[in-house]
Subunit: 282 residues, 6 copies
């Protein structure tokens, strides 16, 4: 499947980046025939994500490894929990270790931070953004879902989001009306979102047919509340700007449908995991 | 050049990920002929990195854009400083914006965090690790240098680092001696580093010929100091484990040569940048 | 831009397929220094599409060719009209000729057939399907727009379309309601379309929240008309099955919003074009 | 093998095009564990081709599917005949369905049209041309063979075909003689074909050594007959231009060896196939 | 053009192989702004080949270099002759140097050895084989032509060569006759060559229609002469096996049309070239 | 693993190069169901290398072949020794044959020549260079190790080697000292080698801290001996230039640590192997 294909190719590229012309440490310092059993263990509490990606790394390095996922992506983990085990050649386990952990720690970091926002934003959905790591967007958006969040558009291709920079004059409703009509004719299934910085703009956008969502950018909770009231259920509202774990609850209480948080993917600290390895008798 | 090739391919992949079958917002909501001038401006203080990568994103989307780097990677920036400007079709500027910012904010985050560690670790060099973002290692290691740090090995291929997991019995000096000798014969130019968890191990490793660096893992500053004294200048020492901005100064004071910090690349928060756009008269 | 990137890669692959280890005819039978001027001329009436793709083929074979688009994609053409001219080395023009024409004749065939359906379907929009040529979907969907048609989803990723094969029991409204709710939570911006084979199903689907479009598959015009009346403007309707140039007018008259036509891309005959070449004095 | 490798890569690209970041319908609307049995059934009579390619699509999406080819490429099919069956996860079957059908309907369309020309052209071989779908040439040429036709050259690299556009002056036999001699010396195993528009040209070409085939372009049957008589068995003749199912019989009767038909690959309508799916008890 | 495309990709891969994450010597030991002028000079006499490939390496590393070919492929060179010059950044020249020389020395080695065989084989053409360097076949076959030799088939796809291993029983003329007939019908433009180890086989093959060439494998010159006489001009003959610079003249004198020599590409010693570099005043 | 990944991709590219759109000889002249058993046999004495690469070629063409390595890379072979056997479809064995042999004959040639140099250079290690075949460097360096030699750097990225062309004035020790210091700070684990043409330079280089190896280029044995004495064990010495099987013993006797030999990879003649094939009863 394309989605798991994408995982396969992303993992293959990460392994090529790390191994280059070969793992010189394993070649000289690990006996070729030695077998063992490894466990990847969380060293912090959080939400696991990318477990299947980490498993793929071990499988690609050595298809003969037996790899078992104990806690699939989306599972809460506590320090000490094993999420993944593998059995087979020690060389293969050690060669894949770092790449597997690099995916796991980053994606679990994203899921863990998402979960914290979700818990703090009662009544509204937490959305990711396009502020993702280049090359890892599909994986990071899956990690956001693993953490209980929702996915905004996947790229520039699957939804319209008109920001102030897109419009020569942001109050030109005639231009917007014509552009939306043309879009509706040629791409009837693409949703349309418009960014508003003021209530004035919100009022204007509400006169347009074919708008699905209005983005309230950097507004105070009071202003957002007014905007939501103006909408009267005809469109959905997304809040962005100045969102953090302290403010997100108050923003959710304004009645917006969605709150988008760039930090989910651009500033989540890694969740710590490590590999425990036991050698089996030869 | 391969290095900039690598930039080119990484940027091309990031653009393909974001644009997919096309930027539907620009196609319908930005007039094709409109020209403008954009500036990428820092919104926080720190160290810029990835500026040339961001420039490449604009150039790939539209080779006709005039792109100018104002503050090259490695420059300190303050909130409000412009690092990059571009002039040309508004559509092209907006289509490339997010990918350019995604590289810039992440790599500048790495450089900024590195700079803070470097300033706190007087007398020792700050090293990165292999705990990098899959697919971005070369760029992240360049960002570490931009922040004043040093590069550890680039992958499993360009240096030996023997950790406890590599050895069936970590005190088997005979095995180590033989393996190092074989490596020295076949790969004479590859450096060798051994991980030690105890002073006992350090003493053993110091009896081996051909060891370049000993990694002191998770030792107290006192123990590190003793290890350094045992070494008596014959090998270099790297400290790792439990390193943060609070502890790094004391670790540096033990006399180790290097301190490696995984957080530089796995947990650096993004440095905030945004695009200011002015339209020129048609 | 990704869209034109995609053109570049598709054209490069087509050239590699045709040229393999080299154009042996030009190498031995065309004098290397000879220059000339070529015109690609329509030999049938229709709608041009893929003109820019054909231009790209000439540019890739020889960046020194001067290539000019006379009639951009979307233009009506009559037999004898030139759509594209190129000036430069005769060898380069002849080496690129066939690949350029292969794109042009196929995509113009799609646009031309689309235009005929659009003209016959007054009051409804003509949609394409996913029954496209493997590898050419983005180009064929652009050709559909060039012919005045509209684009349905680009793939399995950008819209939900639930067909009878997807559901264990097509009348299980409870399952559908739960699945749509889960989708709405995790992917709020993805549109949902359900396929109905009977009016009974249409009635059921109209009780579900979150349905954007109902697909009326293989229904008679009378049944479609009833379905549209049931909808009462709450959802949009798409007709499919048994659509041809004879029936499309009657289907449009039922009041459906969209009519999807697989033949636009899977069975459009090529529109004939050829290359006229004049050699310039040496 | 390269040929089936090529199939693998072409199928993988087609799946990536369709699935993008994932099949959102199956993810939310098909229960993950559900198994089933599918049959791809012809809905029109014709000649099957691309059956193995369709099978490959199912296998790539899910290697655990059991896929069986019932009627291999080249088999005549009637409406209702099953050509391919697959058993396993319903999600996998539905995700692969469209890509498999897209290959099958197009390639079977090519084989079916070829068969009709072959049956109408008694005494001459039907040849394909380079007017193929970009990216699918090897598959379409296999479909032509499946329909009983013959393959002309695969590209610009494996045979010389000199058309009027290649020659500055088409009656310059001295230039042709020298070029053929040079080709014969350097590439002795490459066949040479020359395009003739008049009997005058045919007479000239017959004076040249090293010509394997003469292409009679857009000649009347009477003129072709004269040309064949002039050849007296020393070269072979190919007819092209104005060939359709009405004219091909008369052209074959002129005694030409080959008749090339661009429509086989550029204008064959798709042959209709569909998927029947039965769910197995859980 | 595909041929030069192929050069571009082959050169790009070679540069990536050599540069990896970057040229660390130039980065630290060559001043960034320094300009210079380089000349690639032959240090042995022979025939130049791959000069344009070497030029491409310099251009890819730095499009701003001015690169000039002084002696194109096919030119005889003497020790001291410059074949290529380049002017621009010293860093770029030195980074590309080795890759450029690696192509040049190998391909010129092939051309030089070919020339020696050609000069020794009066009356017969020297052919290459498929015993080429993996990945470099198109370039090595061009080098053979540069040395005055002829190209045998480019791969398994563009000509039939039936060796003893292909046939269950090498004297089964009936099987061969049927197979050739089937091939002639489906692939009329593919040439057919049969390998013969004895005169008996030659006699049998001469009874078959549709054979273009007979390969005389490991026969004595006397036997070859007899075979050629048997052929009486109806087919062409190729000699292979036991061919070296001492024996090739006698083999040519037997009247065979072609002599194929694997050593041209599998055992040609490199022709020595080096780079002379002058720095320009800053 | 990346190393064997690299083998996989290199083999796949070589197969694609040879097979193109398919093996036409096997398709028409080998019965599809025929099975057989093949052995690859050395026809000359030497050292085997690339045996596993050859095995990979057979496996890629047909995963159903049973392939067994009898003599792994590094084994001495005598004429008549079988290194590899394969059992299965005859078509698959013959389609893979040439590509497998091309790798095997070239890499075994490298290993065999290396072995001869190693035996002649008592007391010094034989090093390879970067004068390798474009695209095959990792495989050729493995062949050098198989022959008993040592690997110099793998590319421009994993070690510094400063040659005369890198320095504006070769006697500028101040510049060198500063550059080495900067490198040591930023890339502490990269080794540094400097090329010396005179004893004067050697003396200067010995005053610099941080130099690992001095390359003695084109010096007489007497001069080398003096240089080694000057070094007094503080650095290692590599000899290059004018090294052949006649001179290498005397060079080794000077006390240098390493002798690098470009001819190992750029001029090793192929070691001859061939395939013996037995058909099994049907």
């Amino acid at each position: 499947m394309s989605f798991s294909n994408s995982i396969q190719e992303t993992v293959a590229a990460a392994l090529a980046e790390d191994l280059g012309p070969g793992d010189v440490t394993c070649e000289y310092f690990v006996v070729a025939e030695q077998s063992g059993h490894g466990r990847i263990v969380a060293r912090q509490s959080g939400v696991a994500a990318g477990v299947e990606v980490a498993a793929e790394a071990f499988c690609q390095v050595d298809p003969a490894l037996r790899v078992e996922v104990l806690l699939p992506s989306g599972s809460p983990v506590r320090a000490g929990d094993a999420v993944l085990t593998m059995t087979g050649r020690v060389r293969s386990i050690l060669t894949a270790e770092r790449v597997a952990l690099n995916f796991l720690q980053r994606l679990s970091g994203v899921a863990t931070l998402t979960r914290r926002f979700v818990e703090a934003a009662v009544g509204a959905r937490i959305l990711d953004t396009r502020k993702t790591t280049p090359g890892l967007r599909v994986l990071e958006k899956a990690a956001v879902r693993a953490g209980g969040g929702s996915n905004h558009r996947f790229g520039l291709f699957d939804m319209v989001l008109v920001k102030d920079n897109h419009l020569a004059a942001t109050d030109d409703l005639g231009f917007l009306r014509a552009a939306i009509a043309r879009l509706r004719a040629e791409r009837p299934n693409v949703r349309v979102e418009l960014e508003a910085d003021t209530l004035e703009q919100v009022r204007g956008f509400l006169t347009l047919a074919g708008v699905d969502v209005i983005l309230l950018d950097n507004m105070s909770p009071e202003t957002m509340r007014e905007a939501v009231a103006l909408g009267a259920g005809r469109v959905r509202f997304e809040a962005s700007g100045g969102v953090n774990l302290q403010t997100v609850g108050a923003i959710a209480a304004t009645g917006v449908d969605f709150i988008s948080v760039g930090a989910l993917t651009h500033s989540a600290p890694a969740l710590d995991f490590s590999l425990d390895l036991d050698r089996t008798a030869p």
